[in-house]
Amino acid sequence: MAFINKSAKEIQVKVVYYGPGRCGKTTNLLYVNQKMNAKFMGKMISIDTRGDKTLFFDFLPLQLGKIRGFNIRVQLYTVPGQVLYNESRKMVLKGVDGVVFVADSMEVQREPNKESLLNLKENLAEDHLDLDELPLVIQLNKRDLEGSVIPILSQETMTNDLHGLLKHPVPVVMASALQGPGVFETLREISKITIKSVHYKLRS
């Protein structure tokens, strides 16, 4: 739920990184946390188990400057990817304003990608939210594996797969969360459309 403080001219939105287990959601936040100026960032919190495996969520609050005179605060969350953690995913999704769907480019993850997007749709529907109405960006992650011995899915295949589950096409960003390309582009894109939609709701 966007939090708008008109007197302080501040908008706070919640963006959730969603996707199958091990697709690189946490790595996205870690990269942002590493590269962004600490002045505009709060502390990153990871609720995980056995090393780096997300058990509940990761959280990273950011300040993204001003848009139309409003201070923009964005809170990034990730969900745990494992099937068993669906209740936890639902909790993290509460009040979401925008979603980054991180898809794993590895061929072995083709079905898990689709299942995860459908799971997102279902979980939102339970909360009376419509995935097709929500600001959404698709990130095709792990593109650094292209040209290596690991079989990966083409951009076209992935886009068709995922757009096939949506009513309208949404922005698609190619990325390597591990190495950096596409991480900030994804963040900019989702922030832009999320703020826009919040503004729109504000007017109506």
Binding site: G21, I47, K53, L84, S148, V149
Partner: protein, 278 residues
Amino acid sequence: MAAQDVVIKDIFGEADKVEILGKLPAILWAYLETARLLVRNIDTAPGSSARSAKDAEKILGILESAAEYLGNESLKTTLGGHSKMLSALGRGELSEQDFVKTFVEDLPRLEGMAGPRPESLPDPLISSWLADQATDAADRIRKGRAGDLVVSVELLDEIRDYLAAEAVSEGIRSILVVDNAGTLVINIGDKTDLDAVSLAAVAAANFAATEKIAHLIGERDFVLLFYKGHNESFHFTRAGKDYIVVTIFDNSLSLGLLRLKITEVAQFLIGKLPKREV
């Protein structure tokens, strides 16, 4: 593993495989770096190959199990060849000169499989942390049991009997033993109709979140974790590093008595349940 054993599957087992595939090219590059270093060492200081050969062998071990999982025959064959060469070199059955000659020929082919060279490689030896992590994961994948817990049926029965006699009979409604990652290990009491599997996963998440709160305010952990409902209450405690005990009890039971009981239960469980290796 005996037929009577119960395997409590590691929730992250499948994920480990996905993870090691994603890392394969980076590990291949790390191996190539180490291999080139080995060749350079032999060139500049003949007779000094032993150490860097060991390093190369270590990374090679990881690669071989990753290749196995990938099912790429040509990669498997190449790596197998390297493995043989390295051990022959180690045993002194292959001269350094002969080794370098055949070894160097193979490296460009491997580079082709590794794909584009990452801009920043981890230091020549792939940071030892990454190597260790990857070795562990690869080892688990090789054995095909990731972080699974194996408990015998007899032990589960023994624990159930103990819990029934010592805890449930004393006014405690239900006890759930959950592993760190939220897998349900044991569920006993009159609450078996509830969705214990989801409850276990959420309880573990909640427990981890509460521990994080403790850290944020500078506490190591909370001594007592307790939620009071209108009729029933929940109590959470750790049993060793790997398990969480969730107790559901009637509000008429005194909290002091409950804590005493649960401390005993936790001690008992620590003594009985297997510890996770990873």
